[in-house]
Symmetry: D2
Subunit: 345 residues, 4 copies
Amino acid sequence: MMIVMQETASDEDIKAVIEKIEQAGAIAHPIKGARLTVIGAIGDVEQDVNIESLGLEGQPGVDRLVPILKPYKLASTQIRHGERTVLDIQGRKIGGDHFALIAGPCTVESREQTMETARCVRDAGVTLLRGGAYKPRTSPYAFQGLGGEGLRLLAEAKAETGLPVVTELMDVRDLADVLEVADVIQVGARNMQNYPLLTEIGRSGCPVLLKRGLSATLDELLMAAEYILKEGNPSVMLCERGVRTFETDHRRTTLDIMAIPILKELTHLPVIVDPSHAAGRRDLVLPLSLAAAAAGADGIIVEVHPNPDVAVCDGPQALLADTFAEFASAVQRTAETAGKALSAA
Amino acid sequence: MMIVMQETASDEDIKAVIEKIEQAGAIAHPIKGARLTVIGAIGDVEQDVNIESLGLEGQPGVDRLVPILKPYKLASTQIRHGERTVLDIQGRKIGGDHFALIAGPCTVESREQTMETARCVRDAGVTLLRGGAYKPRTSPYAFQGLGGEGLRLLAEAKAETGLPVVTELMDVRDLADVLEVADVIQVGARNMQNYPLLTEIGRSGCPVLLKRGLSATLDELLMAAEYILKEGNPSVMLCERGVRTFETDHRRTTLDIMAIPILKELTHLPVIVDPSHAAGRRDLVLPLSLAAAAAGADGIIVEVHPNPDVAVCDGPQALLADTFAEFASAVQRTAETAGKALSAA
Amino acid sequence: MMIVMQETASDEDIKAVIEKIEQAGAIAHPIKGARLTVIGAIGDVEQDVNIESLGLEGQPGVDRLVPILKPYKLASTQIRHGERTVLDIQGRKIGGDHFALIAGPCTVESREQTMETARCVRDAGVTLLRGGAYKPRTSPYAFQGLGGEGLRLLAEAKAETGLPVVTELMDVRDLADVLEVADVIQVGARNMQNYPLLTEIGRSGCPVLLKRGLSATLDELLMAAEYILKEGNPSVMLCERGVRTFETDHRRTTLDIMAIPILKELTHLPVIVDPSHAAGRRDLVLPLSLAAAAAGADGIIVEVHPNPDVAVCDGPQALLADTFAEFASAVQRTAETAGKALSAA
Amino acid sequence: MMIVMQETASDEDIKAVIEKIEQAGAIAHPIKGARLTVIGAIGDVEQDVNIESLGLEGQPGVDRLVPILKPYKLASTQIRHGERTVLDIQGRKIGGDHFALIAGPCTVESREQTMETARCVRDAGVTLLRGGAYKPRTSPYAFQGLGGEGLRLLAEAKAETGLPVVTELMDVRDLADVLEVADVIQVGARNMQNYPLLTEIGRSGCPVLLKRGLSATLDELLMAAEYILKEGNPSVMLCERGVRTFETDHRRTTLDIMAIPILKELTHLPVIVDPSHAAGRRDLVLPLSLAAAAAGADGIIVEVHPNPDVAVCDGPQALLADTFAEFASAVQRTAETAGKALSAA
């Protein structure tokens, strides 16, 4: 942490800050500049938390605190000395040189739609099957998912296709039910900072697909991952799914393609991209999927529907089942030019 | 809902959309323009939900859907024919001509700090006492609140000062404990779209202070309120606490002062402003509080600390206890020029 | 400037950075922390510009540069030791304890509309008359202003009412014409970083109302002012007029009310607020004007139209001439509670 | 345009709006819904401009106006019936199946640096040479470019390498000088809405690379292009170079990768991407360039420096000259998988 003093700070102000830092067990390094003084205290994450709780920002003569260290540890590239995390989901590898193609219905709507979509994506060689039983919806009047019945349909689809299943958990009270079916638990963007949920999933040990909140910084995303890692669960994938910007026409959110290379530098965890929810438009899903693969993503998660025109939820963004194999091939080719092989059993 | 057709849409495309709308029980009004056709279907909220689920956006010839109606009902000004909701919290009125001054510690840290702050804000004539027992923290390494012990200290402060208590609930499993102490349950910005939490609080019937998410639109905030109202709980206050923008220097978030008059037009629910968390800087709290009062807010919620330099959390934004009475007077005067009287027992 | 080294930086990397800094004539202060090293070089603005041009960010072992000093000098509070700039526009004071009410038509449309509006705002006791002869319009098909004829009408309004005139300059080639009429030149938000325009206005010595760009940081606004100040023109007013955020419903931009107290801390220049363009809605202009006055703004600039329904441009946001006196009184009262007196001849 | 009436609008209010629309020569189509009335007037762009100037938004009973038509004409896909614009810059094609690799120094700093870089990029087979003689700089204290001397060096580099030149124009008074050297005039992000500049460049007929402003919507970018096209200059390339978001760590702006497929749908003009300025970090330039090519961009513009450590401006984002050929090959391969061939003489 660097403590930047005001230009008008007195020697006493500076001394008082140094004393507080030292009382907190850290070493203070003052640098006297031509116009102002900066006091450095470069320790570790815990020390930074301590220094933040000293209330220095309100103290006389203090202009501001500038964090120097990254606020996360277990998620950082450094802790694994540059080695990348590779998850193993029932024999499917995710991360490193493995590209994950995760596909399936947005919402589990019916037995027929689920089974038909599951077979379609299995035939196209996907890595995992996605599907929502519990759906977070902005409107309380919209369809909220089939719940337990949805979980049963996913279990059936998994049994028939052999595909591991990714499904969302919204309510900590549903954890046990979801664990019976899910090979990967999805945490939605709205719940990225739902700390009790993250903690319980961390304790469960089940692999997690953690979606970035619509206005979460990458540091905040990594801190959310840190909540899970801290409970002893190392199997976390991060998922970029679009951020909120001033541009609200023509698309639902703005996909942050830069998040891919930046996250790959900051963390050892795999980085997945969700172009379907980012765009909300089917025609953008292919170019964005190719862009993600080219930029080095470890996988994508997309929605497929046998008949999107009658989809109960998010139909307009679902890929068509009858052209999905073609889509999968195009993505696979681009992933290969980026040095990754499609991950399968 | 208006369905805007592409310029290249054929008569069959238009006919197909009209048929779908009519099969869904709505009336379709096509308008043929010089360059394109627009099809109107102006019903009510439920009908809009139905039309959205028709998957029209993915259908041939359809350019986009433009919602015309507001997506919420119970929160809308119209449902109460312009009459404003006035909450009654143990005899303190909030809304209408009543201005609520809500103050207290950010976090309950100790018996001494809690009691001292509670007495200070009571002496200054505040409406409600705020204080956090469960604290959502970005870092898993930061202090997470005293939990149950914090609730007990709040109960004690309430018993001594007679002030009703506002405190945050993060985990649906803590609802019963919180209900024993809270006169108002606070839903934090991170949980604004935690639907199981909103639903359970709605069922509890306890008054709610619902904070706007950092990138939530006003419509989304009202939809979150709608989740609570729909369960039969009419006692919801909305709270603007700053939004994320490109401006990340000099302040924590950007207070959306426009949210006050816009929300007053859209909804009958009271609108509270939290300048402390919006700014993260003590010196901005007074000008922002005055601005909020002048713009017509129904109240503010601020943090006070007997000794912010040793506050465990958010010390730099806490007002000083020994100048709080002066702060309260200035806010009261400005609220009065805006036609509101400070609410007390 | 602080140079943060990567955790993996070698001693040679650190030495190379120190040498570069010292060759640039600055003093390097390395701080060795538990996990990484930070090198401080705390000089002045020119030194920071030099250090930025060293290309350190691309050098081996360097993680990032963290600026410590503010990048502007002449605009900073420190350069005047806390004394505030008070402009004198033909006897009207702006800044310090003086509150400026600037009003008039958005665009000069006709002789009748201009004279009628000018008389109306003069009768209400405004400080300056605003009116646009050259209008920046997003669409090339929209009315672009009366140009030279508009300037003549403004001169006539000024002659009759005695009010000094604020008008916008868009094209550096129109400077001489505008200087014949303008007492204050307005630089629009789109031209905030039009450096040739800023430089020429700086050389002209004419007082300036500099509007903040829609996504300009406060530091960038102050750097734009610095371009004018650097040419020897000290008469600069800053104008907050709303910023772009994810919230695009219900208003044109989001007024950054925090900009007022933050700018008052950073700079000695007066701070004006334009609620009309920020909101684009007449009904928001009063609450936002009151909020601005309460938060300590040095003035507001608003649009008035005798008959907004037939205004050629921005009619929906213009205040009504026949209720303008009432509006002016309400703003004056709030400015007085904030310790400022309405400025007049 | 759709005019949405308030729920409380009277029959007279509705009638008054219809009359106004009809007086403006448009046809009004009212749709009476269960809760409110919407009035459609679907004409063309000029009619929308007329309706906007009717001041309807301020009229009794009117809730809001919803534009239906796109506000630009000449830039729209429809005007060319889906055919794409292909520019011919001294025999180099840009647009359609041609991928443009535009490279060179950020700023022309010296004869040696310019010639060395020009030769390097020519050897790697680039399409055009970029280089700045006039540099818009946030700080008035930073190097502002070599001006006329810079233009002469660019002319020399062009003579030796045969590469057409792209260079920025900031000041309309420099147009004639720039036209002597430039094969393509660049309009920087800060000047995207500098209408006098756009108009003069439009009149010059010189091909243009128009950069998107940091918070410009895609519609605004197309309206800026429309200013140029309207003057009879059809040779406009659009350039995405990153937008402002809440995410200000780890990168300079957020590259809007979605802009590529969306612009390709909205307009016939070529779409170029500038990953260097978007990121401000050399290590992000390759993954972002590959992502842009994969997503269907018509080209990229990147910065190269023989020795970025001593670059006067933006060194940290410049690619290294000695690895540029490798970079160019990787981009070419990805462009080819997206169906485009590298454009050369």
